[in-house]
Symmetry: C2
Subunit: 350 residues, 2 copies
């Protein structure tokens, strides 16, 4: 899944070049490419399905030239994760009704790739054998208030347990209790299941969505698929898969993993996951000279030189035609800022 | 005079486009053009001599298309104000030995133009009649520590007094005493004199400089002037006219004026002289959205949008390939910063 707009990283992430397409760590590979490289250890390229917004088709073909054009599903409108996953499921089931799937965002960071691969292999074995929806739960390392949590129940297999509850983002006090209890894991948004299991669950818990796709049962995988989607996809409700299915279904399991994960959902998360210089500044592959400045994150493109004095714990993000300077503690404000910018300048700076 | 490099305004002022060539106030006219417009009220265009570094010849001809090419004196190297003024004096004297001159920097702000014109007319009358070096002293409005001061002595004519002493930049306490005394005026660096008077003074107080130019007495105003300057100008000592002549001569007078002057020598000076929005931010003709931010100065080119939260009394200067964020209180550090930048990146960002 790589159709999101990444507005929490504005202006470094822009509508025309969202976060997942950016080489965030200056490694030469974008987050999307890093995700692709990772799953290629598990899945042959011809079985990798990329779902994105149609506006990003050129970016996907540029960044993932090895993915066949027919494997890139182009959403005509933004409808959150449930319709995205439903389409991919129907598309995959048309090619192989017995298929198992891993569903993953393309803008996460995973640092311990071999542990990731081992965990996914273990999870696939689990979902191949049963009608189960498996989500990956990350062992929490701090009382993070920016993530949803999963409370685990009965153990079933190695590292795999029943899910007791899904919890929305907690406040700090509750997050501390969660972490100390050992019963709560971060909700990663990475899922494993058989196409059959998720289709069944969609019919049961998100019937309107499933019925919309059922109308095209015999077009998926054919030349008619694109026209069908153009007509029916915009009619789908905009809803997340968590809300539509996972929080309602009874056959939900969690695999508890610990492979160095971050959703890179916030500037703070990027800061935490980036190498720091001796003044604890993170300089995203850019030329920075600092005086009396610590704990900042600099996200600046190309050869630009940034000289800063007297800033502590700020975000300094320069995207050519937009510059943002904002305390990291106020990063929640960025969505509001983006709204304000749109109010004043329309889409010019989005 | 418009050959300076304006490094105190780096990176808004750059080696390839220094301060005097920038439209600082978004009025459509650069500081140089504003200076030219001002003197045109007093002096016909054919008598305006522009002295600049040869690297700025294209900028001068672009910004002052009405100034004849032969009136633009191109310095082959930077030698401070005394050699610059000496050359202009010899050049003017060759055209008219009886000429009177106003010598003015091109990067100052003068807000009350009619008072300026009246003062210059009054000053010209004074220097036409006698062997006098007249400097303009600005009535101080605050205990500024960034300016030199002139202590006045005996009154001679309307608003014109003998100079008692020139004083270097004082500390704050001394500056307060100066301002309260009523005897001290800011040294503006604007001078009036006859070509004959300044030539005499150069011979008496800066003989090495005068003798260098005497070698070319019969080339000024001819086709040979350029070649002579190429050969002899670099041999001149690098010295200011204040230090070389004004602080030594006995026939120095000051005209006390009050025409709304700033040398725009610092970001603070620019801040003080610029219109502020309701949050006391100065936005140099750029798109700025601020949250919880006051007292800042934004100097950003073109259509760039700057969004800032939680900054108080900072300079935010973006020059395309360089961004500077620095507390106004630390603006003295900018010269050091420019040195550091040169050490690390050579001339790339100067």
């Amino acid at each position: 899944m790589c159709g999101g707009i990444g507005s929490r990283f504005w202006p470094y992430s822009r509508a025309h070049l969202p976060k997942q397409f950016i080489d965030f760590f200056g490694t030469g590979r974008s987050l999307l490419q890093m995700t692709y490289d990772r799953v290629l250890e598990l899945i042959p390229s011809e079985n990798v399905i990329v779902v994105t917004n149609e506006q990003y088709a050129p970016l996907v073909s540029e960044q993932l030239p090895d993915v066949r054009p027919e494997n890139v599903l182009l959403e005509p409108s933004r409808r959150n994760t449930a319709p995205c996953i439903a389409w991919a499921t129907y598309h995959i089931a048309a090619r192989d009704p017995e298929a198992c799937m891993i569903v993953t965002p393309s803008d996460h960071l995973i640092t311990r790739e071999q542990l990731f691969i081992d965990a996914i292999r273990n999870g696939f074995e689990f979902v191949e054998e049963r009608d189960a929806l498996l989500t990956l739960g990350i062992k929490p390392t701090r009382p993070e208030t920016g993530y949803g949590y999963i409370q685990v129940g009965e153990p079933v297999e190695k590292d795999i347990l029943k899910v007791k509850t899904f919890t929305e983002k907690p406040d700090l006090e509750l997050a501390r209790v969660f972490v100390e209890s050992g019963e709560f894991f971060w909700n990663s948004g990475i899922f494993l299941w058989s196409a059959r299991a998720i289709k069944d669950a969609l019919h049961r818990y998100a019937a309107d969505l499933a019925l919309e796709f059922d109308k095209g049962l015999n077009v998926f995988g054919t030349d008619g698929e694109r026209a069908f989607i153009e007509q029916h996809f915009p009619a789908c409700p905009s809803i997340s898969i968590d809300f539509a299915v996972m929080e309602k279904a009874g056959n939900v399991y969690v695999e508890c993993v610990n492979f160095g994960w971050s959703d890179l959902g916030t500037w703070s998360a990027l800061y935490d996951n980036s190498p720091k210089n001796r003044d604890a500044n993170v300089t995203q592959n850019c030329n920075v000279i600092t005086y009396n400045s610590t704990g900042n994150i600099f996200a600046v493109r190309d050869e630009k030189l940034v000289v800063v004095s007297g800033l502590k714990d700020y975000i300094i993000a320069d995207a050519g035609d937009v510059l943002l300077i904002c305390p990291q503690a106020e990063e929640q404000r960025i969505k509001q800022i983006v709204n304000d910018v749109q109010t004043r300048f329309d889409d010019k700076y989005l």
